[in-house]
């Protein structure tokens, strides 16, 4: 797939909650083909502490308006700077990067923990187009950190877990009661903290359900040149930026 380096313009920067914000970016030319699970490398200008680009999942794509939406967690100085960016500011992107998810036509279970929801919305939209039925589990610390319910509800069933029990079932996503009927699903997709994805991989393997996870390794180039973002696979070290970020759990060594 062709990759581009292009300037977008920030047309909205909305605070989601204390930890997250949503950027809407637009460009004049039509967008290229973009697969669910792909990401962009954002150059962060005028932030002296930030040297490298930041890899960020594509949350949503609007091909009519030539818009991308990025759901971003404030993690460090780079993302903090991005969270304060004002409308009209140009943002330079290298995109679309990475491989993307495999789209099932069957019953899909999407499991997102925290920032892991970022790639799952565009995935849910693509799955819906593909004829799949969609159930999404959203896991957060507490109700005040919960977001994205409406948009996922428009595409299928949504289940919630919170660590403090303030909304939905109490506990981690993997403790949700839906896992008692896990064998009714044809494909599991997950993005979030590594322990969560590993727990889901274990369940998937027990029930022999295909499962893909999206990794978030630190990166420099995003295009397979620096070899910094590798993960251990059955065929050795592979770049998360080009061979991933989406991996079938059977290809990953520690899953």
């Amino acid at each position: 797939m062709k990759k581009y380096v292009q300037d977008f313009t920030v047309i909205a920067n909305e605070k989601v909650n204390s930890d997250y914000f949503m950027l809407t970016l637009q460009q004049e030319a039509p967008l290229p083909e973009i697969r669910a699970g792909q990401f962009v490398e954002v150059r962060i200008d005028q932030a002296p502490d930030t040297f490298l680009r930041r890899p960020i999942s594509i949350h949503d794509v609007d091909f009519v308006q030539h818009q991308l939406r990025l759901l971003v967690k404030i993690n460090g100085t780079g993302t903090k700077h991005l969270s304060r960016i004002s409308n009209g500011t140009p943002l330079n992107l290298v995109y679309p990067l990475g491989n993307g998810f495999t789209l099932t036509t069957g019953r899909a279970l999407l499991i997102g923990g925290g920032c892991g929801l970022a790639p799952l919305y565009y995935l849910a939209k693509q799955l819906k187009q593909n004829g799949a039925s969609i159930t999404t589990i959203i896991g957060t610390r507490c109700q005040s950190m919960l977001f994205g319910l409406d948009q996922f509800q428009s595409l299928g069933d949504v289940l919630v877990t919170t660590e403090d029990g303030s909304c939905g079932e109490q506990g981690f996503v993997t403790q949700h009661s839906i896992f008692q009927q896990i064998e009714t699903f044809n494909f599991l997709y997950s993005c979030g903290p590594e322990p969560m994805m590993k727990a889901i991989a274990k369940v998937a393997r027990q029930h022999q359900i295909p499962c893909e996870v999206s990794l978030e390794n630190m990166m420099a180039c995003g295009i397979g040149a620096c070899l910094c973002c590798v993960t251990e696979t059955n065929s050795g070290h592979q770049c998360v930026c080009t061979q991933g970020p989406v991996f079938n759990i059977n290809d990953l060594k520690n899953y």
């Binding site: 150059r43 040297f51 295009i223 397979g224 620096c226 070899l227 070290h237």
Partner: protein, 308 residues
């Protein structure tokens, strides 16, 4: 006036002085989406060893002020895979394709160089005696004059094209190492490789790299690199390829003024995949503004007041 951007390293001619640094540009293929590779003076492909190497464990990278640390550890598929699978895909490039040759013993360097010598479309190698991220070999050869000279001489005996030797800055006197390499038969030196550095996460009290230490690159190292190019320029007769933190045409011109015949762009490729072409255009522009007819005339053209 049209500026002549051509430069030469001994008998090898470059259409312009801009090359890409090993380990930052893959095999060129990764950048085909963004630039016309044929417009570059040369590309130096990923460090290639005798056997397949998996490299170091993740995490291998840490961002630092105006730079980054890496500890990739020469991950590559080995020279045979390069020759059989990669070379056929890149040999058509109309630019100088240079292979960075690495190893952990003199025998390995020699074996890889001998194999690369047979490839018609590879006019030069860059002998990497300066990798800080491998346990054996690598930088060990580049920090002692006798060892440096010995490995260069051994490779010189079997390699018949242009032999560039990449130097490490992690030495007390880089001029002496450059002289040793010149004595060993090198056609040119390139400098600097990364500087040994370290990064710690105070919150977790852990090193940020799996190897604890790694190689620092990016604008943070530029003043050191420039100083070393200038020192080496006054110590050897062979041409110098300068690198270390170049992110603009102005940076590149500074390296030429300090004594470099050509330059390499490394870490900046990660920030802007089109940076190489911008640097070439900017260098041409500089020459126009300064009425420089031949860019090669800038090499060592630093003006220093002597009447203090």
């Amino acid at each position: 006036m049209i500026t002549d951007l051509n430069v030469s390293i001994q008998q090898l001619s470059f259409k312009n002085p801009v090359l890409t640094a090993s380990g930052t540009f893959g095999y060129g293929i990764e950048f085909e989406y963004f630039i016309d590779i044929n417009r570059l003076g040369g590309i130096i492909v990923k460090g290639t060893t005798g056997q397949h190497r998996e490299g170091n464990r993740y995490p291998r990278m840490a961002e630092t002020p105006s730079g980054m640390l890496n500890a990739v550890g020469l991950q590559n598929k080995g020279v045979d895979v390069f020759i059989n699978d990669i070379y056929p895909k890149i040999q058509h490039y109309d630019t100088n394709i240079i292979v960075n040759v690495s190893g952990s013993s003199i025998e390995e360097y020699v074996a890889v160089a001998e194999k690369i010598d047979t490839l018609n479309q590879i006019p030069a190698i860059e002998l990497n005696i300066s990798c800080p991220n491998v346990k054996q070999g690598g930088m060990a050869f580049g920090t002692q004059c006798a060892a440096a000279e010995k490995v260069v001489r051994a490779v010189r005996d079997v390699y018949h094209k242009t032999l560039i030797v990449k130097l490490t800055p992690n030495v007390t006197n880089i001029a002496e190492i450059a002289q040793a390499v010149e004595n060993g038969g090198a056609d040119a030196v390139s400098l600097i490789n990364t500087m040994l550095g370290m990064s710690i996460d105070a919150e977790t009290r852990r090193p940020r790299l799996s190897t604890i230490t790694g190689g620092l690159s990016g604008p943070a190292v530029k003043p050191v690199a420039l100083r070393m190019v200038w020192q080496v320029y006054h110590a050897v007769k062979i041409p110098i390829i300068g690198l270390g933190g170049i992110t603009s045409a102005t940076d590149a011109i500074e390296f030429m003024l300090a004594g470099a015949t050509a330059i390499e762009i490394g870490t900046a490729n990660f920030l802007d995949p089109q940076i190489t072409l911008k640097v070439i255009e900017g260098m041409e522009n500089y020459c126009q503004r300064h009425h420089v007819e031949h860019i090669k005339d800038l090499t060592g053209a630093l003006l220093i007041e002597t009447n203090h």
